[in-house]
Symmetry: C2
Subunit: 430 residues, 2 copies
């Protein structure tokens, strides 16, 4: 195995250009580490004339990435187009059809089609590397799949979206509102012009579905992820969180319950002294607990050209060196179609923010609504008093079921003194 | 490759027993992950009659571990005896001689003989797995060697000894003195009866030498590590650290300087808001910065039967699955014999604690000693006043060279009003 590993790169955005830059810059050490050179033999992107700041001479240009995936002289197709279907899917199908390994940063594609692609690739003894798809430059796929292979994982959770973490960090540090910080993040390039995939939790959910598959030997089940984003978080929540000893983070978490696999992405109140509470800005972190290893945490940059290229190249070095692993840890036919633990069955403590008229009887109505659902109040805080305006009231409740809390909030929302719909954030013991 | 991977285990202490327990408990999932079973065919330990709580039937007993390494029907020899020479070295030499791969948790052995063993093993196309030798259950060897293979590493540092971190954490949280906390740690099993290897920094230095080799493609150079332990840290230092916004941690750190490879293990004052400052108790953490990935941090339990077994088994699964990597990342003949950057050339800020008579002229003498070495004082703090007793005075100085600070402390130590030798802790910007 001293022939070069030939790669065809589909997509030459910042990650594609960054990957090629890395391969050039560290060509010598990569050749030593992999045992043979890694060379770019083909590339494809929308606009051939664009200057991407990297040397593409020596690589054959293809206008059509799927044609390239099928026809280029390549051992590996690197898919950096993105999107859960369309060209990215066509590229992967063509690569597998032509007997080529795949390396991709595409979490959406794998969250939807991961099990099917793994089956298809593995049946032809092909590999799909996707270190870059989960938590950017953190080698978390390798850590779970290989480094912690000796463990039964009891829980896995993490900060999986840098845009949301940046926004929440800024909101906390500056006291500004979500919309304001989002606009700034867009200007700085930390958030997309169309931010929904990030701020509504879908991107984190894509990554969580992949982590859950790896951790539990399960078929990838993006449809089974309960998803809430961070749009509803207000500066008031962040202030109250500090008062109560919490930080608000968008966490993705997965665990096996008696009812099946629970996969959740939503804002959480977490102990502000916990290690993951200190993961700030665009950083990502993943915590995995194993029966032998105990708690482990992995932290680093979750996005960007450099970190993503680092992960893509790690996968390429593995392939060049002949190191192969089943895509999701177990051979694809062995992945289990686990039952979905319904979110309604989730049990936990809750933080609830009400906006109510400050007049006699309103709080009595609220407490009665909780009592009706057997929900036990832990604390109640009111910020300011006003005879004319509504005031925020924050209540934390002891462990109860999602069903009970939703019913209580529904009846509180329908009450006369309630000015805005009640807002709830789950308190997560870590 | 569906024949079992046959392993011979040398050493049946808590780690050996834990490894066998793990292999039994997770036999089914490990077989799926590795593509074939991993079976213990031979074991060796001092006392055959001892009950270790694990089933050893089916494994052939050897009284002599080195004989086992050479003669057992095994593909891999797992060396869990420990010690930098003696039986552990004999086992590894015998294993290589007989054409068997090695998995070991022995940091001392590899810190001293790593390059030689890697050359010897690789020349016979054999592998040495040592994930368990560095930072216990944290898959840091895999992370640096494979996960971050695409990066040039600019710095790597970490909390590499759980005993020291436990002692420093306890000292900070309870205000107690080193000796007192050490005695308790010994009672709890967190420190050995003979604690020197841990508290004097040697164990951390062994691990650092391995990390530095991995990060910089260098021959393992334990002799090049500057080592200071934690015995001299007093409760007064910990109190002053808090006042100044620092935490005291025993860090091992390595980086390339213009003069060569700098490898240091010593107590550091670090920003108490930094992520690694929050790594407490028996936990370990490693931070690695790469040119593409940026900062990454890996945290977990640094010792104990479970975490160590987790790491040993990860190496075994890699071998069973046919995943092989050069021992120190680059093929052994390519490892560079890097020059040693002398500690005297180290440049940094310093915390200095003096114990001096509280009388006119003493402080003037101290400041003159710094001025003579061109050392610029940043702050000076005195705790209490006393006309009869000596008082601690703490001085922090701006960036200067190790040579200058040592000269200044030497002349201060020789001064009339100095009651105890000056004590210095390096301030580490992270």
């Amino acid at each position: 195995m001293t022939d070069p590993l030939r790669i065809a790169v589909a997509g030459l955005g910042t990650v594609g250009a960054g990957t090629i830059e890395l391969l050039h810059k560290h060509a010598d050490s990569l050749t030593l580490k992999a045992g043979r050179p890694i060379v770019v033999t083909a590339v494809s992107a929308r606009d051939k004339s664009k200057d991407r700041g990297v040397d593409l001479s020596g690589a054959r240009w293809f206008d059509d990435a799927a044609v390239m995936a099928g026809e280029a002289e390549a051992d590996v197709v690197v898919e950096l187009i993105g999107g859960e279907d369309g060209p990215a899917k066509a590229v992967c199908d063509a690569a597998i059809g032509a007997g080529r390994d795949i390396v991709t940063a595409n979490k959406a594609l794998l969250a939807i089609h991961g099990t099917e692609l793994a089956r298809s690739a593995e049946s032809r003894e092909l590999n799909i590397g996707y270190e870059a798809a989960v938590a950017g430059g953190i080698p978390i796929v390798k850590a779970i799949r290989e480094g912690l292979a000796g463990n039964s994982i009891s829980k896995i959770y993490g900060i999986l979206n840098g845009t949301c973490n940046y926004i929440l960090t800024e909101m906390r540090q500056t006291g500004r509102a979500f919309d304001d910080v989002l606009a700034e993040a867009q200007k700085l390039g930390y958030a997309e012009a169309e931010p929904s995939v990030d701020v509504d939790g879908f991107d984190a959910a894509h990554k969580l579905a992949l982590l859950a598959s790896l951790a539990y030997g399960a078929e990838v089940d993006f449809g089974g992820v309960y998803i809430e984003g961070i749009r509803a978080i207000s500066p008031v929540d962040i202030e109250f969180a500090e008062t109560l000893g919490y930080r608000i983070k968008l966490l993705g978490s997965a665990r096996l319950t008696g009812q099946g696999l629970e996969q959740r992405v939503h804002p959480c109140m977490i102990d502000k002294d916990s290690a993951i509470a200190h993961v700030e800005g665009v950083f990502n972190a993943v915590v995995a607990s194993g029966d032998f290893v105990g708690d482990t945490m992995f932290e680093g940059r979750g996005a960007g050209a450099g970190p993503t290229a680092s992960a893509v190249v790690a996968d390429l070095v593995d392939l060049a060196a002949g190191r192969r692993t089943p895509v999701f840890g177990l051979p694809a036919p062995q992945l289990q179609p686990l039952a979905r633990a319904p979110m309604e069955a989730h049990v936990g403590a809750y933080y609830i923010r009400l906006t109510v008229a400050d007049r006699p009887g309103v709080i009595a109505g609220v407490t009665a609504a909780f009592k009706d659902q057997q929900v036990s109040i832990e604390s109640m805080l009111q910020r300011g008093r006003s005879e004319t305006e509504a005031v925020p009231v924050v209540i934390t409740v002891h462990e109860t079921s999602e069903t009970s809390i939703r019913r209580a909030l529904e009846s509180i929302g329908a009450m006369d003194g309630t000015v805005e719909p009640p807002h709830m954030i789950r308190i997560e013991p870590l």
